[in-house]
Symmetry: C3
């Protein structure tokens, strides 16, 4: 069984955001899959996806602080500056964090760890709605 | 053909560890797969997985040194500190390195480069046993 | 439907390079796939793959500058130095950026964002030809 759909996430401010609900509510079809995989691609180069702690919101604040510190705006070596000071760091963060992930499906549900949630990592100040391609396969 | 299983790795100290043997010995079924894929998820947010050099152990030491330097404990901007000084850096390292990987299977074996091994990256001082979900498909 | 092949990329200088054309021209078979996935593994530990901006070449220059700055050659904590000063940083960059990616196929084409291209990230000064394993499945 194969299923593929594109979804548009609600626009989010710069930072790290849990999006499990937006993803799971858009793929009720996984309830019928005993064993399978969900693949997610974010179709952008200035936002990214990761799995991380789904409980304490300060974890997500600390992600933003850390990546702003180690992928700084206005680094003297940037040549690509005409799209705004948040643009080139957004590209670099996107590559460090990643744009595509695959998650297991078991007995009709995503099989993640207890503390794992799916983050949208919005690296632009005004990124707008972000588009995902979801591809599901299984039996 | 689909196959899925969960395995528990033996507990490991903080650092980077080769786990090819633990993974391969748990999936003898791939011997029957001509072309396929192995997907691995680590169900944790303070340990991660990567592929890297499988020969000289000093490479793995240098990974630990580098990530400890660039994802420091006690950074002044951390708000999430109540789980210990090794906790928030572990979350960040996990996102930088990655929690899910897919590897090709060819003629009954994992098809990696000569020098590629699978690392468990243990970012906590006392992480204990880590759980993986292995999902195999192929023909 | 399953298809798997190995390809050798043309040798490239140290830096970040668009390789969409080299990949797509090697897999004409995806024209027949309505829904599917392309998995790519680079079989090396000192080069990597990512998706990022496919338009302005200064973006790719800035990637090289950034990673050279934050994964420096000659860091005092490196023990693995006998393969040259570009070797250990290449291993670390490879793990940060990633060695395996999965991309959706829709109606016979890779389904990436308008601005997304596939980069070979060559971290060695003289890396030579790099080998990829491409695994395609779909219906």
């Amino acid at each position: 069984m194969w299923l593929q759909k594109q979804i548009n996430l609600s626009p989010k401010p710069r930072g790290f955001h849990l999006i499990d609900d937006e993803i799971i509510s858009s793929i009720p079809e996984i309830a019928d899959i005993k064993v399978g995989l969900l693949h997610i691609l974010i179709k952008h180069t200035s936002a990214s996806l990761t799995l991380n702690e789904n409980a304490d919101p300060t974890v997500r604040n600390d992600f933003e602080s850390h990546f702003d510190h180690f992928v700084p705006e206005g680094a003297p070596y940037y040549q690509h500056t005409y799209e705004g000071s948040d643009d080139m760091p957004a590209h670099i963060k996107s590559t460090i964090i990643g744009s595509n992930h695959t998650l297991p499906i078991t007995h009709g549900q995503l099989n993640l760890g207890t503390w794992q949630g799916i983050y949208l990592c919005e690296h632009r100040n005004n990124g707008g709605s972000r588009q995902l391609v979801l591809t599901i396969q299984g039996e």
